[in-house]
Every structure is written in C-alpha cells, then in structure tokens.
C-alpha cells in the first residue's frame, strides 16, 4: 500500500508483471477445471434435469420440472423395501464387517517387524488390484452349490445353506471387495503409533484390551474413517456384485438405475433413482462423520 503511494508508476508495471506471472502459474489450472466442469458437473446437472423430465416410451425425455419419478420411488413400498432398504442395510453391514476383518489383518501386519510385512501387504495390494469381476467370479466358484464351502458345510454335518443368489452371497461379495480398502490405510496409521504410548499404558497397569481401546484404537481413527468411507461409498453404489452374486433377486439401487436406463429405457426414473442414491450416500456419510467427530471430541474432553 505504501509503495503505491510513493511511486505509482513503477508499481503499476510491477503489478502488471506480477499479475501476468500469477496468470501464467494459474493457467495450467484452467484446463483441468474446465474438464471437470464440462464432464462432471454438466452431466450431473443434466442428470438432475433428466430426473425431473417426463418419460414417454420411444421419445427423448422432456424437461417439465416434474417430481413424479421421485414420488414414485419414495412412496412405493416395493421400491422402498426391495431397493432402498436392501441398499442401506447391505452397504452399512458390509462396511462394518469389512472394518472388523480389515482391522484384525491390518493390526497383525502393523505389529510385525517392518521387514516381515512385505508378503502380507503385497498380497492385499494384489487383491485390491485384481478386477472386481474376477474376484466375484472366484467367490462364485467357491460358494456355488457343490463348491468347496458347500461341501465343507455338508461334511461337517451343517444344514445346507444357499449362499449364491441370496442376500448373504451379495453381503459376502461386498465385504470381500471392501476389505483391502480398509486394510491398507490402517496399516500405515497403526504402524505409525508410537510404541511408547502403549508401553506407558501398560506401565500404569492397563491390560492388552484396555491398552487397545484406550490408546491404539482412538489413535487409528483417521485410518478407520478413511477406509470405511471408501468401503461404504463403493458398496452403496455396488453394481457388479449384486448383478453377479444376487442373480437378479437382490436388488440394489445402483443396479436398478442401470437396468431402468439400459433395459427399460426409462432415463428419467433411472436418473431419479440415481440422484436419490447419491443424496442418500452423502447423507449417511455426513451422519457418520458427524457421529465420529462427536464421540472423538467427547472422548478427548473426558480424557
């Protein structure tokens, strides 16, 4: 400011050059920004518009601002029970199960000496990087009637349980796909916890369980949140898993949107289901983050 008053001329030129430099460094930003606007925000806005359009068989949707498709989805008990409730239930339960299974594995790996973590970690990464369709296919072979799990249950004299093409099968599939996403961020977070903290807890007489719940788990929360958020978002939108493991009987919203669009050709209804799913998933995520934040803060206050 003082510079402006003393020598306006030089500053003007300097300001111009600075502004040019600022533009030059920011220019590379415009391409990706334009790209995201054009290919993400415009299509999403388009989808919202489509969901409020009138559908007539054989002609493109006409925007009329109608909410009939939302009304149809949110009031029909059939859709609420088969699609909405199934989606919420399966995605929440599968995320919780994936967290338990993933936490055990991540904890075990993180407690190993660093030079012995390699094999287990790399197998988890391989599992993550193998296509979801292939992993579901493997689960199919394992769980189909006459497969290994089926035979083992029969051998042990357990009652025969149908797994494939039931909700249980879809749940197993969702958990299987989600576990690596939970394990990987947790390994880093748990391994980074200072062992001195655990030793301190032990030295004041805390047993292993107490040490875990009072020290390790709270400190690993960032990893828990990161992993479960990815797992939940993926599972809520699951499409290949219910399609291949549900045999058309277990209907989740992502799959329903796909069918409505490509098989029925009812784009407005598909869009309404899709937007509903998006909002639902964001709302559940927000509630979850809020709850975690609150518990975390009260825990810290209590401590």
């Amino acid at each position: 400011m003082s510079l402006t008053l003393s020598s306006p001329q030089t500053d003007d030129r300097g300001g111009l050059r600075e502004r040019c430099a600022a533009w030059a460094t920011r220019a590379p930003l415009f391409v990706p920004f334009l790209f995201v606007v054009l290919f993400f925000f415009v299509p999403m806005a388009w989808l919202v518009a489509t969901s409020m359009s009138t559908h007539e068989v054989g002609s493109p949707p006409v925007f009329t601002g109608t909410l009939e498709h939302y009304a149809r989805f949110w009031t029909d008990p059939f859709y609420l029970e088969t699609a909405l409730w199934t989606t919420v239930k399966l995605s929440v339960v599968s995320t919780a199960l994936a967290l338990i299974i993933g936490y055990v594995l991540a904890y075990y790996i993180a407690e190993l000496p660093p030079d012995r973590r390699g094999f287990l970690t790399s197998m988890v990464v391989v599992s993550l990087s193998v296509n979801i369709v292939i992993r579901i296919f493997g689960l199919n072979v394992l769980l189909m009637s006459g497969g290994l799990v089926d035979s083992a249950l029969t051998f042990l004299g357990m009652p025969r349980v149908r797994i494939m093409y039931t909700e249980l099968g879809v749940l197993i599939g969702l958990v299987q796909i989600a576990v690596p996403y939970v394990v990987l961020p947790l390994i880093g977070v748990i391994a980074a916890i200072d062992p001195a903290l655990k030793e301190a807890a032990a030295s004041v007489g805390a047993n292993k369980y107490r040490t875990f719940w009072a020290v390790t788990f709270p400190l690993s929360l960032p990893g828990v949140v990161a992993g479960t958020l990815i797992a939940f978002t993926l599972n809520a939108a699951a499409f290949a898993i219910p399609a291949l493991m549900g045999g058309g009987r277990v209907r989740m919203m992502g799959m329903m949107a796909y069918e409505q669009a490509t098989v029925q050709g009812n784009f407005p209804f598909a869009a309404a289901v899709g937007i509903s799913l998006t909002i639902l998933s964001i709302v559940i995520t927000a509630i979850y983050l809020f709850a975690i934040n609150r518990t975390f803060r009260t825990a810290r206050k209590a401590a």
Binding site: L105, L148, K198, E199, A261, A270, L277, T285
Partner: protein, 275 residues
C-alpha cells in the same frame, strides 16, 4: 513389543497373540481366497471345480491364444494408461495451487476435484452416458477415457496434496530468488520433492481405471470392450474354465505390476506410510 510381553510373562499370555494370529490368518485367507480359487479352477480339465480334479494347462494356453481376451486386456491397459497419465497431469497444478490458494478458492477447488468421489460411479456413468447419447448418439473409447479421467483424478490430487503439505516453501523461494523461472523451479525443485506423491497418485489412478467396471459398462462401445466387461458378459451366460484361465493371467499380471511397484517405490505408497 508383543514379543517381549509374551516372552517375559511366560505361558499365561500365549493365547492372546495366537488368537490374533488365527483371526488375522482367517482374514488373510478371506482376502486372497478368490484369487487362489480362480487359479485352481483354471487348471481343471473339464468343468470348473475348486479344488480341481484333473489338472491341465490346456486352458491357460488357450486363454492366451483367444484373440478377444487379449484384445480386451490391451484395451483395458491403454485406457488405464491414458486415463492415469491425463488425470495425474491435471492433478499436478491443482494440488500445487491448493497449497497457495486462499481458503475460499481452496475449498472450491477441493470440492470440484473431490466431487467425483462423493457421487457413486454408476450414477456418474449414467449421467455422462445420457449426455453423450444426447449429444452424439454413440459412445466411443474417447468418451470412456474421459469418464475414467474424472473418476481417477481424486487419487493423484489427494496423494500430491499430501506430499505438498510437508513441502518447505523456502526451497522454492530460494530457487526463484536466484533467478530460476517458475517452470525451472517446478522441474528442478518442486517436482523431485513431490515425486512420491505423483507416482502414488498415478498408480492409484491406473489401478482404479484398470479395475473399473461401472463406468465401462455404460460407456464401452460394443466392438471395443475392455477385459472386465468381456469377462462379465461371459459370466452372465456361460461358465467355462477358459474364463478362469483368462482371470488367472490377469491376476498374474497384477501380481507382477505390484512386485515392480514394490521394487521401484516400495509398497508404502499404498499404505500411506512415509518411509
């Protein structure tokens, strides 16, 4: 820590680590089971079983000579390579600007580039598909790549941002104070410092694209199907050991890539642990 406790306290404490060990083994088996089963099923002579009854490598060889699967794998690879490269290049300036931008701008940028993570990918695919069908009436490989760039971009943005947070601005200031141009500063100072984040971001983007199913199922042109879509369509209608063999090759490919990553940059890029 675990070892010392168990050793010093004798037999009483043994069940605890063993319990964790058993639970962790079960979890590990659960994670890798599908991969092992696929490999086992590929070695079957007749129908698909696990464990296999009659062993043969016939299907493993047949899978390599069946043109359509090899094509599918090539298409997947090209799409993933292009999408990961473009999204990493896009993410670079974004992540670098995020560090310097005023909070309001940073918030808009974060929301814009992380937004795709909040929307289920099937739904984004549906949106892009309906716009493209309206605009062009067809989909092609180019549109598929656009979709993949959008869904993979959050990963490099995040990994690079994570690295730039620990970057000392003094280093860049030092470079420009001795007269280096912004570009020169970027290439010889900033880039080497953020390299781990860039590589990790690229790899995550590549794997996400390679694994993607929901975007591809909407935007894939009939004649150029990536591998996952080919396998999916096959699975919907028939079960033959050849599909297990194709999958096994894919698993082997993934394993080799992971091995290379481990050798080049270490698996820390996946666990987010700074070595």
């Amino acid at each position: 820590m675990t070892a010392t406790t168990t050793m010093s306290s004798g037999k009483v404490r043994w069940p605890l680590p063993t319990g964790l060990g058993i639970a962790a083994s079960c979890a590990f088996i659960f994670v890798v089971a599908p991969l092992i089963v696929v490999a086992g099923a590929a070695l079957n002579a007749e129908a698909m079983f696990f464990p296999p009854r009659q062993l043969t490598l016939h299907w493993m060889i047949a899978a390599l000579t069946e043109g359509s699967f090899v094509n599918g794998a090539l298409i997947s690879f090209v799409v993933a390579a292009v999408a990961a490269t473009v999204s990493t290049l896009f993410a670079l300036p974004v992540a670098l600007q995020l560090r310097k931008a005023p909070p309001a701008v940073a918030r808009i940028l974060t929301l814009s580039f992380m937004g795709p993570l909040l929307v289920p990918s099937v739904i984004f695919a549906l949106a892009l598909y309906s716009v493209m069908m309206y605009a062009f009436g067809v989909t092609n490989l180019f549109i598929l790549m656009i979709g993949h760039v959008i869904i993979t971009m959050p990963y490099p943005v995040r990994t690079i941002t994570a690295v730039t947070e620990h970057l000392d601005p003094a280093l860049e200031d030092a470079a420009s104070s001795v007269g280096a141009s912004p570009w020169r500063t970027f290439v010889s100072v900033t880039l080497p410092l953020i390299k781990p984040g860039v590589i990790a971001g690229f790899l995550f983007a590549f794997i996400t694209s390679w694994n993607d199913f929901s975007i591809s199922v909407f935007l894939t042109p009939r004649e150029l199907q990536p591998l996952p879509i080919k396998i999916y369509e096959y699975l919907l209608f028939q079960y033959r050991p050849i599909i297990a063999a194709v999958s096994t090759w894919s698993v082997i490919g993934s394993a080799i890539i992971v091995l290379i990553i481990d050798r080049l940059v270490g698996l820390n890029v996946f666990t987010g642990r700074r070595a």
